[in-house]
């Protein structure tokens, strides 16, 4: 299943890549306007420019392992990465909900956001800044596994501080956070 999905992602992206520039190549998977329509693929519109640059470099260098992304990123030059990050960070974010709303989860998620002090780095609107990503209006089915991964399998190049924040947080609480964050209003692009 995983392998089949990977192939589908690769083929789609390669098709678009041949037909268009690199920016379009990203949007083939991450949504036509940078807001993902596909499960477990993140929205990249309105992500802070520096966050995008850093992640593309980390994936290219193999410090953030991503078999899906690596083929597209491996030959990018720094100048291309800078240009891509600039284009994509300027795209407006849109909500991308992937589950029916659950008021209890929403409430718990909002509480956790304060309690875990997520807002101090990701900012009170969860829009991110500089090297820190936007969480608001991100896909729920992306946020949940990524937070679990930070908690369970911190990787080289990953932010050790983020791993420390999620240390000991339960699966249920991670689900509530993902549910809440995905429903927070999409912030304006250009950070």
């Amino acid at each position: 299943m995983q392998a089949r999905r990977r192939w589908a992602v690769l083929l789609t992206a390669l098709f678009f890549g041949v037909a268009h520039g690199k920016h379009e190549q990203c949007l083939a998977c991450h949504g036509p306007d940078g807001n993902s329509l596909t499960a477990r693929i993140p929205s990249i519109a309105a992500q802070p420019r520096l966050f995008m640059e850093n992640q593309l470099v980390l994936i290219r260098e193999g410090l953030r392992p991503s078999p899906e992304m690596f083929p597209f990123v491996k030959d990018l030059t720094d100048a291309e990465i800078v240009a891509l990050a600039k284009q994509i960070s300027a795209l407006p974010a849109k909500p991308t909900q992937s589950s029916p709303e659950d008021p209890a989860l929403l409430k718990r998620g909002a509480e956790l956001g304060r309690k875990l002090r997520c807002r101090s780095c990701h900012l009170p609107d969860y829009g991110g800044q500089n090297q820190i990503p936007r969480l608001a209006a991100q896909r729920e089915d992306w946020l949940e596994p990524v937070m679990q991964e930070f908690r369970d399998k911190p990787r080289p190049g990953g932010d050790t501080l983020m791993a420390a924040v999620l240390y000991g947080v339960s699966d249920a609480d991670i689900r509530a956070l993902a549910h809440f964050l995905s429903r927070s209003s999409a912030p304006a692009p250009g950070r």
Partner: protein, 401 residues
């Protein structure tokens, strides 16, 4: 408050049991020790840059130096480049990094420089040092030795990790490393927190034989030293140490220390700078037996690389004085550091600190910096290299025509 800090430290750095659902989560390491009145503070570490900056985009003309000195871009395209190690023949400079995981080699090819990546995908390989013809690379969790690297681009590393018994915490455990006049390898192990009572392997400087044997702790109570050098005449070790955060804009200041006896205690976490007692970790007679700094080096200024100048290019008054790169503050409402200072030690042993290379931050009152000087390296001709970790560049400071 103390309980909260202690809790946070325990949770973040010791293998604590899973947190109960209604307990507050540990703040990230850089926020530990933050008092309640500062909890809405927007101060946060500055973001680094992991992509190349072309030489044409580096505003080196904004750097200010004393009369007769000039600065030029010597090398660029080394994102995250910080500590530098000069090959024995003086022709190649090896440069460590943190997040981007690379070590660069810069070759001087008659007027222009080329850059290649020697090794990559390491966890913060910040430490680089030469011993005879071998380059040592220290990542947080790995030690590699490249024999004869300056003569052979294909030199394969020897993995020495097991010999050095590196502890596992990562925060403040990126390294500056150097070989002393005694032929031993000096390695700092920072406190894995902003402020805490660290486990016994941390908050110290150690030395080892070149093969990793004979480990000896030579200084304790050292929060986070990432720069040191030996006085050209006395042979004593001088090192910088970063002061803790969240005790206000004005301190405790960074320290410039001198080790006069093996095993000295420099005060962390109970006693800072010139005898400032810690706000969170109290102890009776907190400063008793603590070796005081030779000089206070500015609040939150991030004092990094240290080198005694022994070259002949600069005026004689600079001989055996010290250059210290101060990468610049974040935990302070107005900027401090963002420069290279010159430290002179008088006959009475007192140090005077004066500005040398300035202009990296363009405002006295706010953070408008273009570069962050991190390390200095003297070249065979007496010129001084200054690495800029923000723009991934190395500047050459020279004197005269």
């Amino acid at each position: 408050m103390k309980t909260m800090v202690a809790l946070a430290v325990t949770a973040a750095f010791v293998l604590a049991p899973a947190l109960a659902q209604d307990k507050p989560a540990p703040p990230p390491a850089w926020k530990q020790g933050m008092p309640d009145k500062m909890k809405d503070s927007k101060l946060a570490p500055h973001a680094g840059k992991m992509t190349e900056t072309p030489a044409s985009d580096i505003p080196i003309s904004k750097a200010r130096l004393p009369k007769g000195f000039k600065a030029e871009v010597w090398a660029s395209g080394l994102p995250g480049g910080r500590a530098m190690a000069l090959s024995p023949d003086g022709k190649k400079v090896y440069v460590g990094t943190r997040a981007i995981g690379r070590v660069y080699e810069v070759s001087d090819e008659g007027g222009k420089r080329s850059v290649r990546v020697v090794v990559d995908k390491l966890t913060q390989p910040a430490g680089v040092a030469f011993h005879k013809d071998a380059l040592y690379v220290f990542a947080i969790d790995k030690v590699l030795r490249f024999d004869g690297i300056a003569d052979s681009s294909g030199a394969q590393p020897v993995d020495l990790t097991e010999k050095f018994n590196l502890p596992k915490e990562q925060h403040h455990n990126w390294k500056y490393v150097a070989f002393g006049p005694d032929g031993k390898l000096y390695v700092p192990f920072g406190a894995p927190c902003n402020i805490c009572e660290p486990p016994k392997e941390y908050a110290q400087i150690r030395r080892y034989n070149a093969d990793g044997s004979g480990m000896e702790v030579i200084a304790r109570g050292v929060r986070n030293s990432v720069g040191f050098d030996w006085h050209p005449k006395t042979g004593q070790l001088w090192f910088t140490d970063h002061g803790r955060d969240w005790m206000g804009d004005n301190g405790p200041q960074d320290e410039l220390n001198r080790l006069t006896k093996v095993g000295q205690n420099f005060g962390f976490p109970y006693c800072h700078a010139n005898g400032i007692v810690d706000a969170d970790f109290k102890k009776k007679d907190a400063c008793k037996g603590v070796t005081r700094p030779v000089a206070l080096m500015g609040p939150h200024a991030a004092n990094m690389g240290v080198k005694f100048y022994t070259g002949k290019m600069f005026p004689a008054e600079y001989r055996n004085t010290m250059f210290v790169a101060r990468k610049g503050s974040w935990n302070r409402t107005t900027p401090s550091g963002f420069d290279v200072v010159n430290v002179r030690i008088g006959e009475d042993g007192k140090a005077t600190v004066r500005p040398f290379m300035t202009g990296f931050n363009e405002s006295k009152d706010s953070y408008k910096f273009w570069g962050r000087p991190a390390y200095v390296q003297q070249m065979p001709d007496g010129a001084l290299l200054v690495s800029d970790e923000q723009l991934g560049a190395i500047y050459r400071v020279s004197y005269g025509k």
